[in-house]
Symmetry: D3
Subunit: 132 residues, 6 copies
């Protein structure tokens, strides 16, 4: 399996619901360094997994939905805890949709699976990895 | 698959047996930066893989068995070479046991697999990855 | 000059005032990975710059004033923009005060200068470096 | 599964063919930081995945075929785009061959699979992962 | 002293003249991860060292002079060895000029010194640090 | 000021004397990732700070005095605590001596100062920086 990863980041505010979160129940924030890995079984005819420039643009566009925002105020996320693992899934879903819509080009449709990793600090990160 | 990783470290002395080890047959030491990834198929009802605070505490407790010690003097490890890959397995076994004992909470029992990575330097690291 | 650095982090929400900040004028957040370097001209009689365990504890205590908080709600910071560089200075001032109060031990008073670096992402960080 | 990774690097010039590459169609270059992960199901009798010294030597030898070269002038690569993902596969093939030839020792033949990752910058990397 | 660093990168081909360079006398290449630190004694009225968005844009613009190019073909660099340390100086000169021309804004003129670091691999980097 | 840094590492065992060290009074160990920065005011006639190949060789040779050893058994270090900061000074002294002896070449004598940093983990490192 081939994999290509591109990195970007987003800076968000949020709070959590539930005793398990302790002090994180109050409004705080995070920088998420976001790594998206595009996986496919064979390279395309240009010897590429995906057009890296296009992949970076699409990722930046996807992250702009969350970047510089308070996640508590985004209707779609209401009633959920926007944990690092949950947000990895949110980014995954949007990248998968972009591929299906052809936003990563025609050969981008050859992508078989994705892994999205969000690093919240130098000592903790979370990921979601699945076929698309 | 969802994954959450927490990082800690331990500083140990040890020596190896066998010609393949060359100068490492003499007493020397290592810092192991330890990454433990907890994997599960679905998030729990709090949108979590595992309580990250609890996971970090349990990991620190597990590493305290080895940290600031000479591994050559730990009876359980006698007769084995405490290589980076071997120690990854030792940490794996202890984290798996902690999960089975409920030390990562009731929802922690939903964890399906673990990956433990020990980095011995900026140019070498080893891991053990398996279901639990 | 000798230097010893310890690393920790804090996760905060905040917003900025001023057109120069663009979208960062809205409530968002950041993880700050915090590196504090303690500098002195000679090692103490134990061949140390500072007791690293004590230094780590004091740093964690200092960061707890900001960690898991909305900086916009901290009275002392009112009317300021809590930029990465500004917060580096805030942490610097608190570490310097801790040294002067003897919280890093008697030999800790031998520290001549400090550098505090806050990394806000993989592509941006800020620091404050001065004598104390 | 156990995994052991060793890191080295190579510095190459190359150019690409195809409009998708934009400005990268002109002669430019890259540092590839190369991580090779050796995977096996059980450790050998020395509690090793592979002799790490031998693995590092073999990797350096393999990279010397490309290091400090213009990839456009290597006959075997003619007509291909030497993208990061393509070069990951080139390194993979050579490490696999070295294992089959016994260059990683007799117990090295127990290696089941390899992952080769080439990092081209702090924001992009590619890999190839397969059984051997 | 306050410092703010932004990171970007460039990918170049080049060759060196002189026996000291050994195999690097042939055409090869490098990724340079470029860190520019802006230093000033006091923050501006917005509690900033420099507008980080503007700084990142100016840096990307400066690097575009070299990125995706063969440095051997740039007239201004003729007769010089474009070593990592030499290129750090080239980037330094251009950033300093941009500040003097007001391209980092009016308050950007308060910048006292710059440090430019180019990392060529995980084991080597070079910098130039001076007043402007 | 120009600076060039090369990185290597050593893996050692040691113990400390003094209550301040707590559990580190027992035999344990560390990986030290070692960064040596060579500083000079002007580049040499080849546009170099120092021959990087030579610098790397000399550093590896210097570290071999400590690598894969128990520092408690090295006579020259007897009666001292081989802390990270102390060992940074030990490496500094040896690199400075190598320069004075001409082991970094004739132009290597133009080096004005050195900074040696030893990283003991992902959250702690120490350095010694001085003229030579």
């Amino acid at each position: 399996m081939f994999g290509l990863t591109v990195r970007d980041h987003m800076m968000i505010a949020h709070s959590f619901n539930g005793e398990v979160f302790g002090p994180a129940q109050k409004l705080h924030g995070a920088t998420y360094v976001v790594d998206v890995t595009f996986e496919r079984h064979q390279l395309d005819e240009d010897d590429l997994i995906v057009d890296i420039g296009l992949a970076s643009e699409v990722l930046k566009d996807i992250l702009s939905e969350f970047n510089m925002k308070n996640l508590d105020e985004i209707p779609e996320l209401a009633g959920r805890n926007t944990t690092t693992e949950f947000m990895a899934r949110m980014v995954f879903d949007r990248v998968a949709r972009a591929i299906h819509e052809g936003r990563l080009g025609e050969t981008g449709r050859g992508i078989a699976s994705l892994k999205v990793t969000l690093s919240e600090s130098h000592i903790a990160w979370a990921s979601y990895h699945a076929g698309i």
